[in-house]
Subunit: 245 residues, 2 copies
């Protein structure tokens, strides 16, 4: 399985979409001999899907086509060299993945055929078992929570422990503590901007790596425990089927 789960798509000091992780993305695409990227831009509500595909092509130097150009989106996934799922609104994205019948085709492409999956922001939110740790507003009347389950723990992307002065709503830490109180058996991996998890290797012997372009930590949240910060994926090895190293 080849997963790149990125907190976000853009970071100011690294120009271009996925610019902060460009080397890692390009290296994955080269290793898997990817000729063309299939982009699933369903999370993008307010701008053009082709524009997003063009941004990727420009940033990565590889042809990218948006799934909406295919008459049959399932066939598009079945033939894809690589599946990229962009940021935007997680609720809309997950709803459309389900409504277009793409959940099982993506799972099979990634798990059985080793097709690389690169997801950032909303595209990272749909890789865990559910979207219960999204930060996004539930804009859709049809709320679907179960997601792809490619990664076995919940992830909270765009993680930050700052808060805006005077804002009386919950901080992110409080929101994640609420999640853990309601779901005491589950763990949440909180990824800061410009950080990622990468899973690579043959089925049953995948390795897991954590990397941050800004050399920042990630956190693990669990009910009844203080959130803990880490600089490498070692503590995740115990919580997933993946090895580290």
């Amino acid at each position: 399985m080849e997963l790149l789960l990125l907190s976000n798509g853009k970071a100011n000091e690294f120009p271009g979409l996925l610019g902060w992780a460009r080397d890692r993305v390009q290296s994955l695409l080269a290793r898997k001999q990817v000729k063309r990227i299939l982009l699933i831009p369903y999370a993008v509500i307010r701008s053009d899907w082709d524009a997003r595909a063009n941004e990727l092509t420009e940033s990565l130097g590889i042809e990218t086509i948006s799934i909406h150009h295919f008459d049959d989106p399932v066939a598009a996934v079945n033939q894809a060299d690589a599946i990229f799922i962009s940021g935007g609104n997680t609720w809309r994205l997950n709803q459309m993945l389900h409504e277009n019948g793409l959940i099982v085709p993506i799972q099979r492409a990634v798990r059985e055929r080793g097709v690389p999956y690169v997801g950032w922001s909303a595209g990272c939110n749909v890789a865990p078992p559910s979207i219960r740790t999204t930060n996004d507003m539930p804009v859709c009347n049809a709320a679907v929570l179960p997601a792809l389950g490619l990664f076995p723990l919940q992830i909270n992307p765009h993680y930050l422990d700052a808060s805006i002065s005077g804002h009386m709503g919950e901080t992110r830490d409080e929101r994640l503590a609420e999640f853990c109180a309601i779901n005491p058996s589950e763990y949440v991996v909180a990824l800061r901007e410009a950080s990622l998890l990468q899973i690579t290797g043959e089925n049953g012997s995948e390795r897991l790596e954590y990397w941050s372009a800004r050399e920042q930590d990630f956190k693990i949240f669990k009910h009844g425990q203080e959130p803990q910060a880490f600089m490498d994926a070692a503590p995740l090895a115990e919580l997933t089927p993946f090895t580290v190293g």
Copy 2:
């Protein structure tokens, strides 16, 4: 109908729960001769429900009892002098309102018997037709979106147009614009901290008022329009059955 829909429960410069709106809350309770407040604290996940009730009693000087002390929560609503719904996690609150069979009893209490409804933060989020404009994390596996529908427009509480430096997730304005793009016929009323909407009067001739303890504006979001800011409720009169004045 007597509704007080408050963006939030606490504001730094006004001590006590609902301290920033205390005069208005006390005046409503006195006018309706409320002897005891029924508190529905289901949104509170990580602290004690009785502690929240005690906070209200201390701040308002009126007896408050949490609904969990009643064997039959429906009977508790049916006998309530006033219904207060506190902040916390909107998803958990809405799920428990539905699971405990309280949606119709609260609607009837408020609409038919004129029982005052005071809701802040999550308790404000459940007063519109749905919780699609909550800021909260969807921590529950059972996601229920339809809410009480006491107020006919969506409300976004804790509204703010600031954002945290370096955060690459959507701003609140972007999230609300996404909501409007997906729901182009709907309006969202964005309430800043320490501001409220009050509906008062006999059925069919209710008046609507906007008030901010900090003398700040509220905004209305609608697809295809720039968000507009207002200092009084007049523009809401056209969008609701309520008069202003």
